[in-house]
């Protein structure tokens, strides 16, 4: 890769989330906790999901997490937090879907800023197969935890 590629990968937004992750830390209210590992590199995340099922549709009340990993995996957990907390589970799953499509698109998918907000900064990561797993680690953990919490009925 070239220096240019490098800048495409490490967008400012990513580095900002890395330095100041949103929502980091494990909090007490949760229905499901999962631990995911990237076996290739050993990156790890412990992630808890707290759903609020009081209303008509269940809502993602909190996602709390503790993660060890590179800037990409840390920043993507932070962006995940921003994007899904407060949304209905269905909306959140749709965002998850969109993010997955972006990451698996090998750089050919145009991200929708209205849906993915800061997540569009990961468009550059999609060009680096070795790093896609980093970006997806916490997202896969969240989906798994949400399913365990009964959120995907």
């Amino acid at each position: 890769m070239t220096a240019q590629d490098l800048d495409a990968l490490y967008q400012e937004i990513i580095l900002d989330h890395y330095k100041n992750p949103h929502g980091k830390g494990l909090r007490e209210d949760f229905e499901a906790e999962v631990h995911h590992v990237n076996p290739t590199c050993g990156d790890e995340v412990t992630l808890r999901v707290h759903l609020d099922a009081a209303g008509v549709v269940p809502v993602v009340a909190d996602v709390s997490y503790d993660a060890l990993g590179c800037s990409i995996s840390q920043a993507s957990a932070s962006v995940l937090y921003d994007l899904v907390v407060g949304k209905s589970v269905d909306e959140a799953l749709a965002i998850h879907e969109e993010f997955l499509t972006l990451m698996q698109g090998k750089g050919s998918v145009e991200p929708d800023e209205d849906v993915l907000e800061d997540g569009i900064a990961f468009a550059g990561v999609a060009k680096f197969p070795a790093r896609v797993k980093c970006a997806l680690l916490s997202w896969m953990a969240w989906k798994d935890a949400t399913a365990q919490a009964g959120g995907d009925r």
């Binding site: 590199c41 050993g42 790890e44 840390q74 790093r131």
Partner: protein, 430 residues
């Protein structure tokens, strides 16, 4: 970048290093962005000299046939080439007998061969109450097979710890290696910490209690001269494993050396063609070593490539290769010490370690370091290097590892150090 013009002259480097480098076609490779390749990932896999590639091509284009079983000219040529490769490997490690050299697919298979055969009835069978001793600095390939063996047989797995300065903690040796110990399995040179372990001393102790000693020489064989015949019997391990692709040979080939006495005691591992004496539906008898452990068509062209590889190393001289590695490692340790916030994991005296150097840089994750270095053509490894327990011991989850080899120049180390400085500035670490 990596040209001799810029290199400082270190004593101990291989003579005519630039000529040696010409033997390795990949070193001329230009990467994206027009950067020359600076390959510092040789503990992961080594690059291949032209003579190894040519030996394989010549075999495939002119002599390809199955071995042993074939009764025609190509078959005879192929068999001779394959068995010559065994002779070369035997010479490379000073094996007491050439038939003690077993070809496997990699070091992992060789270690599993040992662990699996110990599970089944035989003079050395491991069972409940028995103990198997490994160390905390093993590669996963020398941990998981012993976990599986002990779980499956009801034996107990124990291990040596690591001291703060990255050495094996031998203070507990008399407790750990006792009359219940059936096997002691350990690495000669750590692929993460670089530590060179006192194999002779540990083997002597293990042999006193009648335990079998299995040594993972995957990182030792590329770097240290090995002469098994010269070792006193009580200090000579019983089984030694290494892998072809780290000694400038191809993938798909590994070696298990074992003393005839021990190999004869072990039951067969993989069953099939070539490893039999006779087969009836009701039961079979087995061929003597080495064939007993080489079921099916072996990695023929790979063995031939490995033969050419160890011959190449022999021509350079393993003493010279080792001196080169030490000179480069010393230079690298010095250079890395100038990078702010960089901590080396493992011994910091080049004379007492192998050429793999794992380190951390405050404030940057190893993946990010490796990525930035890659953008400058510098190839290192980031992650746990298949040594999670050793990382856990030092409270780190992953590290960056540079590893040199006989073709590494001081200028390449300079490129790494510059790259690390650039990485720090890229991530805005003062």
């Amino acid at each position: 970048m990596a040209t001799s013009s810029a290199s400082p002259v270190l004593s101990g480097l291989l003579p005519e290093l630039e000529v040696v480098r010409k033997d390795f076609p990949i070193l001329e490779r230009m990467l994206a962005g027009g950067r020359p390749l600076v390959y510092l990932d040789s503990a992961n896999t080594s690059q291949k000299p032209q003579v190894v590639i040519d030996a394989m091509v010549d075999h495939l284009e002119r002599h390809n046939a199955n071995i042993a079983r074939a009764m025609h000219q190509l078959g005879a040529e192929s068999t001779v080439a394959f068995e010559d490769a065994r002779d070369k490997v035997a010479a490379f490690i000073g094996a007491p007998e050439r038939d003690e050299v077993i070809f496997t697919k990699n070091a992992s298979e060789a270690l599993n061969l040992a662990a699996h055969t110990l599970a089944w009835p035989g003079d050395r069978q491991v069972g409940p109450g028995d103990e198997v001793v490994i160390t905390e600095m093993e590669h996963h390939s020398n941990i998981v097979p012993w976990q599986l063996l002990t779980q499956r047989t009801g034996a107990t797995l124990r291990w040596f710890g690591i001291t703060d300065d990255g050495q094996l903690d031998l203070s507990t040796i008399d407790d750990l290696v006792n009359e219940r110990t059936k096997v002691v399995a350990l690495t000669w040179v750590s692929n993460m910490l670089g530590t060179i372990n006192p194999i002779a001393e540990i083997t002597r102790r293990a042999h006193q209690v009648g335990a079998l000693v299995v040594v993972d020489a995957s990182q030792a064989a590329p770097q240290l001269p090995i002469d098994l015949t010269a070792m006193p019997a009580e200090e000579r391990p019983d089984l030694i494993a290494f892998t072809g692709h780290k000694v400038v040979g191809p993938t798909g080939i590994g070696v298990l050396w074992g003393s005839r006495a021990v190999l004869d005691q072990l039951p067969p591992f993989l069953g099939g063609g070539e490893m039999i004496e006779t087969v009836r539906m009701e039961g079979s008898t087995y061929a003597p070593i080495p064939h007993k452990f080489e079921a099916g068509t072996p990695p023929i062209v790979e063995a031939i490539g490995l033969g050419a590889a160890v011959e190449y190393l022999g021509h350079l001289g393993m003493d010279a290769v080792h001196a080169h590695e030490q000179a480069i490692t010393a230079y690298a340790l010095e250079g890395l010490a100038t990078v702010p916030g960089l901590t080396i994991l493992g011994p910091t005296d080049a004379a007492q370690r192998g050429g793999a150097i794992a380190f951390e840089v405050d404030g940057v994750h190893p993946h990010d370091i490796a990525q930035v270095l890659d953008s400058r053509g510098v190839a290192v490894r980031a992650g746990h290097h298949c040594a999670k327990p050793a990382h856990a011991r030092f409270g780190v989850q992953s590290s960056t590892r540079m590893s040199s080899y006989l073709y590494t120049t001081p200028a390449e180390i300079d490129a790494l150090v510059e790259g690390l400085e650039y990485t720090r500035s890229y991530f805005k670490l003062g």
